[in-house]
Symmetry: none
Subunit: 234 residues, 2 copies
Amino acid sequence: MPSLHQKIRNNIEGRIHSGELKPGDRIPFEHELMAEYGCSRMTVSKALGALSQAGLIDRRRKAGSFVRSPRLEAPLLNIPDIEVEVKARGEPYRFDLLSRSAYEAFRPDEIELAGKGGRILYLSGVHYASGRPLAVEQRLINLTAAPKAERVDFNDRSPGHWLLEAVDWTEAENRVSAESADPETARLLRVPRGHACLVVMRRTWRGEQRITGVRQAFDGHAYFLTERFHSHRG
Amino acid sequence: MPSLHQKIRNNIEGRIHSGELKPGDRIPFEHELMAEYGCSRMTVSKALGALSQAGLIDRRRKAGSFVRSPRLEAPLLNIPDIEVEVKARGEPYRFDLLSRSAYEAFRPDEIELAGKGGRILYLSGVHYASGRPLAVEQRLINLTAAPKAERVDFNDRSPGHWLLEAVDWTEAENRVSAESADPETARLLRVPRGHACLVVMRRTWRGEQRITGVRQAFDGHAYFLTERFHSHRG
DNA sequence: TAGTGGTCTAGACCACAGC
DNA sequence: CTGTGGTCTAGACCACTAG
């Protein structure tokens, strides 16, 4: 259940993205929104403040709040943390662990991750937003690099979220592709077989040592990656 | 004169960046900060909420607020130039123009690009690598921003390649998603209907002015995007 | 269960920009 | 001068979770 200030924010954000409110348009005054939602001014202010911080609106005393033109953003890339992204949208998040096992590296990709004789933690599970499946994840963790992982209960925690907090990393590589959903993935995502999925494969390092490798398959219609950056020429 | 919640935020942010507070450390509880700054809880909450939204801290009920692991910065992002990428792999490149027309902006997305009454150049075509189709492209060019485009023969030149050389840009936004191939796209890419395609939608700006908007659909099995980057913590 | 953050209220004063 | 947003208060109840 989104909070009231989230509702107000989502409502206005939707009207901007739908084109109902265009750059330059004035959005209702705070006191008008107070009346519309029957709430206090602080609540309205929190919603508009968040929109302002997100760069969607421009607020001017005495004049009002106005829809901004697309703004410049710093080129910032991060390892997407699905848990954080879902919660940032004001939706409840859940991770369901499907399987878990620890064993000695055997396949070539496992040996590349943990070295010969190194131990691997394999995890698979599903990320949910508002109770609907968002992504299926398969992950290998190098237990030499992150030994604590073996004692963590991932039944209700996103492994990626835990790793980002628990283990320092120095390098990461994302590979993004599109694939048709195999029957198992389709079942877990609750989409038809063959449905287009956005697949992100990521590897992370700490120095020369590999930490984790993960494959995340998103419903292609429900998720997209966005990056915004500016020219080095200006 | 910074406001009080700004002071609190700046103070904590400084202690994080200076290393006094490290990832995992707990920052003072709200009631402790209330006493320290002699202010109400709402003020403290606003400061910590901003730090949380900025991704610097993680807040957990009953537990407290904790410094998060650092985010990463992108070393460089660029606009992929398919022509350059294909040739860099040592393969012959070809662009086939399918259709071309110039007209006045009509649809909402066209008006967003060129303004009301602005003129648009629409191009569609296929990128080939070693004679095999790699991507289908549909592109709108704002002729106010790039008037020279109207006199260019794109029958054998990649519009993206020409634009990158002819027109300066300051901002760009990429949106990456996965879609099933519609019949027309499938025919052009020579893949089955419903085949998973990697779709890149890109918009570019020069200051406040839009330059171009393009949608490129790649065979999901033949193409992927890769990015590699470093943590600033090392 | 107790303590934390999450949210919200009904006021208030002030700074600033538009009229 | 007036009306707007910017900030702040001193409460309150609720949700979640660590112990």
